[in-house]
């Protein structure tokens, strides 16, 4: 299967999902009440399960199914989240990651031995058991009461005409909990030759266990409670467990993903009372709900065409227009019954007048809202329009209820629900939801036309029945849409709340305005408050701007799409763009040496090419940029596990996760960061007892923070622990002979000591740190990334470990220097200062060679022409230029002939074509077209020191 693009896509997604799952699972422990988080975790497991089964990874499908079983119970509030639940899920995730990694590498091993007990463990967790010494019993009272409901559902045979869909009712029941049993009485179904296809003949007895209250079960039948025989009885307690396919069910063996496929039903025809009771395998209600829907599927991703099926004007016999217009009397009842107008036909004369008004107002408002919906399509965040639409449907629902127009009321109610979600920020309108709104308008208009025809002509339109039938489906579609819709935005705060928070109005004033609005005021909340003199229009404008800012940002994010590109291609593109920039610079240089009118025009054209090629270079650089968030988040698990091991309580905080830097830098920064975090956890943060004794909270804070600063990225590891203990560092340094006992040591020197190889103040070597191999490795790694690392610390208050990194490794800011007539590039980051020294600043020290007296410090002076093997041109430092540089080996001075200028250079790797040269990190092409080598100052120093028989730092 290697090279199968779909499989590759699955693997790439699976890697992303496992990474996201780890972070979310770690978060789950501290946010057990976060329904959205739980749903997100469930969806990730569910997506992996489905995709794995589809792409031929049955073991992944089995494991994710077992995880899903646990998450299903968590989501249903049947299972409380505790350490044992999270640990089990994390163990499963580790196994999952291993399987995904093997899939990535194209290797495979038999996981059945590990998988079966793991799935069994998950299943037992799902059933409520806990494991291991770390298991924490759920606090008393957390487990909600599970009730078994016995529901008898025998609807009238004309319910299809009332817009009621029994399928939807059964589906909604399933979402409330676990359907244990569905008995369908088919005894009244006639043979096909005698059946009326628009009558209902079936009835049901359903056994459901659920944590939902009885009112929630009753609510399922809210709109059909008068349409038949519906009984709800509460029986006994006791939730069933979900079956696990890993333990031998057929689903596990063939990798099929949907548990309902394993459910066998066998209801026999005959009266319900005499039919053999069928006990079906327990079905997870949520899993069933997550399965493809039985009715015309509608998910948010469904194309609009699927949402609005074309109207087929097939008149039903019952809806056929009467041969002659009939006066508005009881004689209309027959036609009215088929269109939900039977109640209208019985209205007293006074109410008929109201019905007339209702018809006229509805026609007007429906015409107006269609325009509003189209406006909403252009700006889905327009809260004013959403509020206006909400009020329209809210009013329609109220009037329809009064006039007993149940179908119209139902339609308005569901549409209002959708708009309510939108105005609370839980739904951002897109093509699908707009299509649903437009269909609501069409159907409402059609139902209103029925009323109009009924009132004015006493006749029923030919397609009236069909409209009623469509309302049922449409309502089902809206409900499904809302069930599947995820809030794409953090709900923007209501305008009233913003005004109160800003101190512009009192909460009581907002309460009054809301009451007025609900009572039918056509004005917005802001207008009402302004009219009452409670707030100025300016304040409302500011609040609206804040609200809009909250809503717009995620809308933009939603439209972002991505493709995966091989980084080698990006590197090749970067290389080519770099060469374009160089070639263009060369061409421009040549053009500037030309004279005449054509030369000037050529120069102008080349300046434009320069601008464009620089832009192109920036764009390509941007493509390589990635946010550091995922790297940060992967440490959440590490912090969690490590802090437990150390017996410390840690609040892990991540900020600036959107900060972008080059992919290569991100890939290489993981290890140094891990060392720093480990160091802070082990040496920085105190145990809860120590913290309490120091007057701090028992829980320490460890923050990972990223931010841009100039052309660099600053990453900080901040802890609020005890800080660096200067006396301990000094004592250790004296013991190691790094400083003399009577030597005065500055804070700067103390900080440098920490990065010395083998330096550790830890009294005990722990599994995490204390061997002194951490901080020097950090410095070495960061140096290799052409960055720097520093520490700030305040005793008793904490430390900040700060890494400064270049945005990219592909381009450096270089100083072009001349050495014996040859250009070389020295990274600007390493240069402290460039000076032309006075003759008296250069001295010879016996045994140490030349030194430069620089800012009260003697620095060793090296001549680059000697190091690089050139014939000397400038031998007297006062006639050349001296670069004072600093890196891991300390400060030193380097003599060059001259400075030629500073410029950004694109690094070209030499190692593809040449042997690695010590002291040379790459090459670049200058504007003149000549090649300049880029110096690796530390490598060059180490090489020369080793060659001279010195000690390499």
């Amino acid at each position: 299967m290697a090279g199968d693009p779909y499989r590759d896509v699955f693997i790439a997604e699976a890697r992303d999902l496992t990474a996201a799952l780890e972070q979310d699972l770690v978060d789950l422990e501290g946010k057990s009440g976060d329904g959205e988080l739980i749903s997100r975790i469930f969806r990730a497991a569910h997506t992996m399960k489905s995709s794995a089964a589809m792409f031929g990874f049955p073991e992944i499908a089995s494991l994710t199914h077992a995880m899903e079983s646990v998450l299903d119970r968590v989501r249903d509030h049947v299972l409380a989240i505790d350490a044992a639940v999270v640990n089990t899920l994390l163990d499963a995730l580790d196994c999952l990651r291993q399987m995904v990694n093997e899939a990535t590498e194209g290797t495979s091993s038999d996981h059945s031995e590990a998988l079966a007990p793991l799935c069994e463990r998950l299943l037992q967790v799902a059933a409520g058991a806990t494991f291991g010494p770390a298991a924490v019993s759920p606090p008393a009272g957390v487990e909600p009461k599970v009730t078994t409901y016995q529901i008898h559902l025998a609807l009238n045979d004309d319910v299809f005409f009332q817009g009621t869909s029994p399928t939807l009712l059964l589906d909604e029941l399933a979402t409330l909990g676990h359907v244990i049993e569905v008995r369908c009485d088919t005894s009244r179904v006639p043979e096909i030759c005698e059946i009326d296809p628009l009558k209902l003949y079936l009835s049901w007895d359903i056994t459901l266990t659920s944590t939902a209250a009885r009112t929630a079960v009753e609510e399922v039948f809210l709109f059909c409670r008068n349409d038949g025989d519906i009984h709800i009885a509460e029986l006994t307690d006791g939730p069933p467990a979900s079956p696990c396919p890993c333990t031998g069910s057929p689903a596990a063996k063939d990798g099929s993903a949907i548990p309902v496929a394993a459910v066998a039903t066998g209801v026999q025809e005959g009266p319900a009372s005499t039919a053999p009771r069928l006990v079906v395998a327990p079905v997870a209600g949520r899993a069933l709900a997550a399965a493809p829907r039985p009715v015309a599927p509608l998910a948010p991703a469904t194309p609009p065409a699927a949402i609005s099926p074309p109207v087929v004007a097939t008149p039903h016999p019952a809806a056929a227009p009467p041969a002659a217009a009939t006066p508005l009397t009881g004689a209309l009842a027959e036609g009215a019954e088929a269109t939900g107008l039977e109640a209208v036909a019985k209205l007293p004369a006074d109410d008929l007048e109201i019905l007339h008004d209702f018809y006229g107002e509805s026609a007007e408002s429906l015409a107006a809202v269609e325009e509003k919906i189209l406006a909403l399509e252009a700006d889905p965040t327009d809260l004013e329009t959403i509020h206006a639409l909400f009020r329209t449907f809210h009013s329609m629902k109220g009037s329809a209820g009064f006039l007993q127009l149940e179908v119209l009321g139902k339609l308005a109610h569901e549409t209002e629900n959708m708009l309510d979600r939108a105005r609370n920020g839980a739904l951002l309108f897109d093509d699908n939801s707009i299509a649903l709104l437009l269909t609501s308008i069409d159907l409402a208009r059609g139902l209103n036309d029925n009323i109009g025809a009924f009132l004015e002509k006493g006749a029923i339109p030919a397609d009236a029945t069909l409209r009623h039938l469509r309302v049922g489906d449409h309502v089902a579609m809206i409900r499904r849409f809302l069930a599947g819709a995820r809030p794409v935005v953090e709900p923007p705060k209501p305008i009233g709340k913003i005004l109160v928070e800003r101190g512009a109005v009192a909460p009581a004033d907002v309460g009054e305005a809301v009451t007025e609005q609900l009572a039918g005021s056509p004005n917005t909340l802001g207008t009402i408050l302004v009219d009452k003199g409670k707030v100025t229009p300016e304040k409302v404008g500011e609040a609206l701007a804040e609200q809009r800012a909250q809503a717009v940002q995620p809308a933009v994010q939603k439209t972002i799409s991505a493709i995966r590109v091989d980084t080698e291609r990006l590197d090749a593109m970067m290389n080519s763009v770099g060469e374009i920039v160089i070639a263009q610079s060369h061409a421009l240089k040549l053009a500037t040496e030309m004279e005449g009118e054509h030369a000037e025009r050529l120069q102008t054209a080349l300046y434009e090419v320069e601008r464009l090629s620089r832009n192109l270079q920036d764009v390509v650089m941007g493509v390589r940029m990635m946010p550091i968030g995922p790297t940060f988040k992967q440490f959440a698990r590490f912090v969690r596990d490590s802090s437990r091991e150390l017996g410390k309580e840690v609040n892990f905080v991540v900020t600036g996760e959107e900060t972008e830097l080059d992919k290569t830098v991100i890939e290489k920064i993981g290890d140094p960061l891990k060392h720093l975090i480990r160091n802070s956890l082990d040496h920085g943060l105190e145990t809860p007892e120590e913290r309490l004794a120091a007057g701090k909270s028992a829980k320490g804070t460890l923050e990972l923070k990223a931010a841009h600063e100039g052309g660099s990225v600053i990453i900080e590891v901040i802890d609020d622990g005890h800080g660096i203990r200067r006396d301990k560092v000094l004592a250790k340094a004296i013991a190691k002979g790094l400083v003399a006992a009577d030597q005065e040591v500055s804070d700067e020197q103390i900080r440098r000591l920490i990065f010395q190889p083998g330096f550790s103040t830890a009294e005990q070597v722990s599994a995490l740190s204390g061997r002194g191999v951490g901080m020097d490795v950090v410095k070495r790694n960061v140096d290799e990334l052409r960055g720097s690392v520093d520490i700030e610390s305040e005793e008793g208050k904490g430390s900040v470990l700060r890494i400064r990194l270049p945005l990219t490794l592909a381009i450096i800011e270089g100083m072009v220097v001349s050495v014996s007539g040859q250009p070389y590039i020295v990274p600007v980051l390493a240069i402290v200062e460039s000076i032309r020294p006075r003759p008296q600043d250069i001295q010879h020290v016996a045994g140490q060679g030349e030194v430069l007296f620089f800012r009260n410090e003697y620095l060793p002076l090296y001549r680059l022409y000697e190091w690089l093997g050139h014939e000397p041109r400038v031998t007297q430092p006062e006639k050349g230029i001296v670069l004072v540089v600093e890196d891991r080996a300390g400060r030193r001075a380097l003599l060059a002939d001259d400075l030629l200028g500073q410029q950004q250079v694109v690094i070209k790797n030499l190692e593809d074509n040449f042997t690695k040269l010590p002291g040379i990190s790459g090459a670049t092409i200058l504007a003149e077209g000549n090649v300049a080598l880029i110096l690796d100052l530390l490598g060059l120093y180490d090489y020369r020191q080793a060659a001279a028989g010195g000690v390499v730092a």
Binding site: S165, T167, L170, E191, C193, W204, T265, L278, V283
Partner: protein, 95 residues
Amino acid sequence: MKRTKRGELSLPNNLTVERAEGLCRDLQKVAEDGGDLIFLGDRVEAADVAGLQLLVATRAMARAAERPFAIQRPSTVLRDALVLCGLGDLLEEKR
């Protein structure tokens, strides 16, 4: 509703109340035409109680006439709808 070369009857993609009348007419016709009532359900994309009870009615006729009845290769949508409505036994009916 046409028969395949093997004599199976392919169910339409929509088995909902909106198409119930047309479906009923089709099923009545195949019932009158005689022959086995072996349906293929792989094309079904939407189904609800109105459509499903027509299949129950067809089976009732098949049983009375002692004619074979089966629904083969049900789509996931059809299978889920049958299970949801407690009619999963329709899938177990054999020749």
